[in-house]
Symmetry: C2
Subunit: 194 residues, 2 copies
Amino acid sequence: MSDAEQTRQNILTVAADEIHHHGFKATSLSSILTRCEISKGALYYHFTSKIELGYAVFEEVYTPMFLDVWQTPLSDEDPIEGLCKFLTAMTDEMACSEVVCGCPLNNLCEEMANVDEGFRLRILCMQEQLNQLIVDALERISDGLRENLAFSQVGYFIVSTLNGATSLSKSSRNKELFQQVIAELCLYIRALKK
Amino acid sequence: MSDAEQTRQNILTVAADEIHHHGFKATSLSSILTRCEISKGALYYHFTSKIELGYAVFEEVYTPMFLDVWQTPLSDEDPIEGLCKFLTAMTDEMACSEVVCGCPLNNLCEEMANVDEGFRLRILCMQEQLNQLIVDALERISDGLRENLAFSQVGYFIVSTLNGATSLSKSSRNKELFQQVIAELCLYIRALKK
DNA sequence: ATAATAACCAACCACTCGGTATGTTGCAAG
DNA sequence: CTTGCAACATACCGAGTGGTTGGTTATTAT
């Protein structure tokens, strides 16, 4: 990797972390510059504006990470159990910082979706991709599921609940609350089976 | 109501609306001053700081409105049906601005809970109150519900899902998505019955 | 050796923000 | 009539923001 590309990646990584911790608007370029030990000119050489940097973080850091994390459990032979294990494992492995800061994508969604169209469209696109992952997994094992299930609806329901649970645990700083909601969500998911 | 109290209430109302639309941090005092047609001195006569104004909005505008809205359907003779009707009615009556801006409390929670302790504690307190409303309603009709239900867990699950659905529809600006999640949520709620 | 370009630096700009200090008005009590 | 306080208004401050600009290296191609 060239020096320039190295610099760019470093900016992306640091920016992703800063945005995760402070939100997009509250993230100041100067804090990124300080942590990267570069000048403002260097940043504006690689990115034309703050918001373009935000888009790049979303597309090149958050999205791949997110889709990859969901892909694994859904590719399981039994995606129902895969999902449940994935969700409960999430509660166990959840670091303190994750409880406090919440999901980076969820945060960006809350903060920027109704403010900036560029963010909104990117978030929307990602949500549809994620929902499609779930729908595909459910269709694959539809023979073993209850009749009359609306797969897309179920997918959005699961994602909504998970987002809500993250939000809840974030504000309460209570890991246990998160675990409770996830436990109830697993009950719901397992009840999808015949 | 005295003139001074009138001024104070006007500030609270306008601030609540501005915070709902732009978030707390992004809400500038100047915009509130302009809409209220008052000076900065007037505002700082009634509130000692921006964050104290935010607390007042939370306690005197958002919280009463929110608890009142939930109390009604949960006081129904059949709170299960009351909740479902309440939720579906919410999707129908949902104005465009509400789809776009989301729930004011949910927004504040996302934005401020992990930034300011004052907000966090107030939000936490309110969430517990809301959950207690649900738990009370469920316990009241526990004879007609499935065995082995964890009422508190169910309460947080419902609230989480609703919050997540609001968040989802906000970013997607798609009312239909919200309706789908709510429809699935009603299926879940009705399945609580024996 | 020279020219060109990529990669970066540092100073600065215009602007907005929350907050404060001081000034002004109107009314009510003495 | 005047004193005093509630209820504002006005002017200003310092800090911080994203963004721009002109200059500086280091490397590479010719």
